[in-house]
Symmetry: C2
Subunit: 174 residues, 2 copies
């Protein structure tokens, strides 16, 4: 069944501007090797430099409406870069969009590629690293109400690095 | 600075199994033209057949932890298929992952490709259609607490279809 088409002159509805703004296009539809950017989405530093160890990470907030209860961020780690080794009570839901890398979740080091899904449980040490020759870009979805990350103490690091695989993976300097 | 590596025999921590389960890999890492699937993620019907008009849509729930406050679903519309034309108070945050198509949001018909972002505001009519020769796969993130969708009445459809572009886009039968 096709919808009824009535012979009424179209008028601009009140929400025409809002519905046109509903779409934000990716700025690189060819999925090149460059950083992923979107129209009308600002690119931020991952964190304040010096506040925590990290290297070569940008942050873009894709969705942050209160009604959604969560925030959808996109992080891109440049080749050879890494996020901060940290933990917190809130969970991360991660969808890899772009590139290659690895992550630590708890005591596991996991290889990552596009479309892979990662769930970081509460109070679980985690860190994301891009490959040496490719960036790693991923969506990270979090509750809008969340606690601040904790950095590892010396004792935490010692415990983590009891596992040689973890020891060789983690980066705790910029 | 490299982390301290201490000469302690590694032991299996209590969360080893949980952290290994943190990763669910995409089942088609080559990004082929087939449907996108993930390990340990069930593929469901989009809706109960007959409950609402739609054609050729599957639903996969990628993340649904209470602590996250939202649910991350992946919908894939087969070539020529469409989701239900509907509206609701809750918002949709959409990230296209795969394929090509178009969507209606309010009074705008928008072309979609990979990485494009769509935000569906509250009580806004919307529908997603795949291209005739390509699927359309997208993440759709919603609040875990949300209202049921409303279908258009005859009067709603008449108002929508006052715009010829909308009239030619919408599908209200299976």
């Amino acid at each position: 069944m096709s919808p009824t088409i009535v012979a009424v002159e179209p008028t601009a509805p009140a929400d025409a501007a809002a519905s046109a703004r509903a779409l934000r296009r990716v700025a690189d539809p060819e999925h090149g090797t460059g950083p992923q950017r979107w129209d009308d989405v600002d690119v931020h530093d991952y964190k304040v430099a010096g506040s925590a160890p990290f290297r070569g990470v940008t942050r873009q907030v894709l969705f942050e409406r209160d009604e959604l209860a969560c925030q959808v961020r996109y992080f891109e780690v440049e080749p050879g870069g890494h996020s901060t080794l940290e933990r917190h009570a809130h969970v991360h839901a991660v969808v890899v969009l772009h590139g290659l890398g690895r992550c630590l979740v708890g005591t596991s080091v996991l290889d990552l590629g596009p479309r892979d899904l990662v769930e970081v449980p509460p109070m679980t040490w985690h860190q994301f690293r891009a490959a040496d020759d490719a960036p790693l870009g991923f969506l990270c979805i979090v509750n809008v109400e969340r606690d601040r990350p904790q950095l590892p103490t010396g004792a935490d690091l010692e415990a983590l690095c009891a596992d040689p695989t973890v020891a060789s993976f983690v980066r705790v300097a910029d």
